[in-house]
Assembly symmetry: C2
Homo-oligomer: 394 residues x 2
């Protein structure tokens, strides 16, 4: 029981949810894509941009079989497979990506890239450029002087990566959560390049409700005196504030059913009744706190703030309304919201579906069931695996 | 538009939502109830306990017409009427309490009391005993040495107040949110004393999901270095942490529809595009922050932590299961959840209804519609005013 609880608590932390790989595609290699310079949507130039990427399967001669996988807020490009066969945990969507799986690497060249300002700056398998990177002009970390970037910037850097591989059409873009926002940005921003799009647990814009919650996620970092306006590199870092921020995300991304079935009103420690003092906690509290602290040790606080900003800024292709966004999109769309999602509730995907239908576009919709709310889109993606397979074959 | 937005943002802050009083019952007086000593459920003794209370209407000779109103997390006993006729804002449930209104003060003696560890320690119309009070044994504020108290302790002190007035039966207990928890505690803990109970936007226990969220609410206070383990009286107070905590509560208590219709993706200031830097915010962020800062100035951080603890500890009459709780209750029950409530969703009240029905108890259920989520139970209570009137007459 305790172990299960902890494992779930680490949901976003270590992504232990993915099932063991069924098909074997050989070890995965993390590669680095470098751009000498990139100019942001906001008009700022970043030198020496580097992002990591992985691929599974082979690009065909016509270069027409590429599927781009875009990752979620706290994730990176490790979507499938293992770096070494002896690893216990595979990439987060391994149940649907691989030989014979719904995103079939025997047919498709699947490519997945780290975003700019990726959270996992201390992970050896993440390559990113962001506030924790050294500014070549000063020789010091950017901190909060790094340019504000948005989802379109993530997409533009991905496009440069695809350009470098000679890929001019995408068979599909598939992503969960912030990955769905990137997928939607691809479909609306580069409509002639994207044939299919699968936004999983996402939306076409960040609404006011979520803008407010993203503010709540970020605030603890700025409350931590170690944050020091983002100038903390080489000093004690705002680890407490970052852990608190990650705790909020972990809970928000989970499901009510998960919480109540896993923890009920259990105490964190036997014999330590929460009635007897503030040090005595409930199991769900202790589990969330432990998971978040572990996660914070591998993450960068400023990068968290930049990711919050990027998500707040999101509206697909800077479209004025959902109707205008829908008009721009040429891709067939498969929307996959998660049941009980508190971040991007199914109603959000239903609005996108309705706008697409109203614009005469080809759109399908199905829900991913499970007790894990938003994370249903990561943990239980295989439940819609066959829907994804069929959609990709159309 | 801006004004409306701000007014909504201050929802929990100043309770400006109540409509002007229709009936006139004369000015309301804040009275003080004092207990020389009170022993908590946890077995600790608090000396010189004082709480404020108000009443509307007259107690009949049989002392059989009393209705107790219990307040929500950030509220106090000012449920109806005005202290002075010239005041602009009446008590929070004024639309349903007064002469001729659903809780009719021509018929009922309506009594409302401040809780222990009330949040509004700096409000001149709140009387409470809690961590900000002077410990008579030391002559200094208790801080975190104040005993942990729970919803049952709030109820027990209310019972002592009712005892002092010779009230042995309650025609009804009616409360919203934390007030609903007190109402449920009354019904399960003192079943022979409560004839009717109206839990509005509440539950019979705090589930794991909400225990986790209450932890999230509290955390920013402890991140603020001014908190100093609760020892801040007479020094700079943890106002930033407290404001952040109140900001989370304000958003959590609101509705998705409210946020999206009121703010959409509007910027806080014209010409200041959030893309251009971290100082440039969206309107919903600025509104929540402004409201929370104003609210923090009148509140006490330690009291917030004690209220969080009291809410986490809640399970009606320490009942083992919902079935056992339902068995204990003798009161007729009218459950009134709010549509789109993110704190106590209607599903929680439906569980209580089903358990009451299974136990063969008399239970009614209706939802309070509106765009304001949890706050529908405060702002839009009048929508179920006639249901309340009819229920009280049964």
């Amino acid at each position: 029981m305790r172990k299960t609880a902890l494992r779930f608590g680490f949901a976003l932390a270590v992504l232990t949810f993915a099932q063991p790989s069924l098909g074997y595609d050989g070890p995965v290699e993390k590669k680095t894509f470098a751009l000498p310079s990139y100019t942001t949507v906001g008009g700022r130039t970043i030198k020496d941009v580097k992002i990591g990427w992985e691929s599974y399967g082979k690009l065909n001669e016509a270069r027409s079989n590429a599927i781009l996988i875009t990752h979620f807020f706290s994730g990176n490009s490790h979507a499938a497979g293992k770096y070494k066969p002896e690893e216990k945990v595979a990439g987060y969507w391994d149940p649907i990506i691989g030989a014979g799986k719904p995103i079939d690497t025997d047919k498709y060249f699947v490519i997945s890239s780290d975003t700019l300002v990726n959270l996992n700056t201390k992970s050896p398998t993440t390559v990113t450029t962001g506030p924790a990177s050294i500014n070549p002009d000063t020789g010091k970390p950017y901190g909060m002087s790094f340019p504000v970037v948005g989802i379109r910037d993530f997409v533009n850097v991905q496009k440069a990566l695809l350009d470098s591989l000679g890929i001019k059409k995408l068979h599909a873009v598939v992503g969960a959560s912030m990955g769905a926002l990137q997928a939607m940005e691809w479909a609306a921003g580069y409509p002639d390049m994207v044939e299919r799009v699968v936004p999983v647990i996402g939306d076409a814009e960040t609404n006011a409700w979520l803008i407010g919650w993203l503010n709540v996620w970020a605030a603890p970092i700025m409350l931590d005196p170690n944050w020091n306006n983002g100038d903390y590199y080489g000093r004690p870092e705002p680890t407490r504030g970052l852990a608190e921020a990650l705790k909020i995300v972990s809970l928000h991304a989970q499901g009510t059913e998960w919480a109540n079935k896993t923890f009920a009103r259990k105490w964190a420690e036997e014999g330590k009744n929460p009635l007897d003092g503030f040090a005595n906690k409930y199991l769900i509290e202790a589990t969330l706190e432990k998971g978040a602290a572990a996660r914070a040790a591998a993450s960068d606080a400023n990068s968290f703030l930049y990711l919050v900003k990027a998500n707040q800024l999101f509206i697909a292709d800077n479209g004025g309304s959902l109707e205008e966004i829908a008009k721009k999109i040429k891709a067939r769309m498969l929307l996959l919201p998660g049941v009980g999602d508190h971040i991007f509730p199914p109603a959000n995907s239903q609005r996108v579906r309705d706008a697409m239908k109203a614009a005469g576009k080809d759109v399908e919709y199905a829900e991913i069931d499970g007790p894990n709310g938003h994370l249903n889109g990561v943990i239980h993606i295989a439940k819609q695996g066959e829907a994804i397979r069929a959609f990709l074959a159309k």
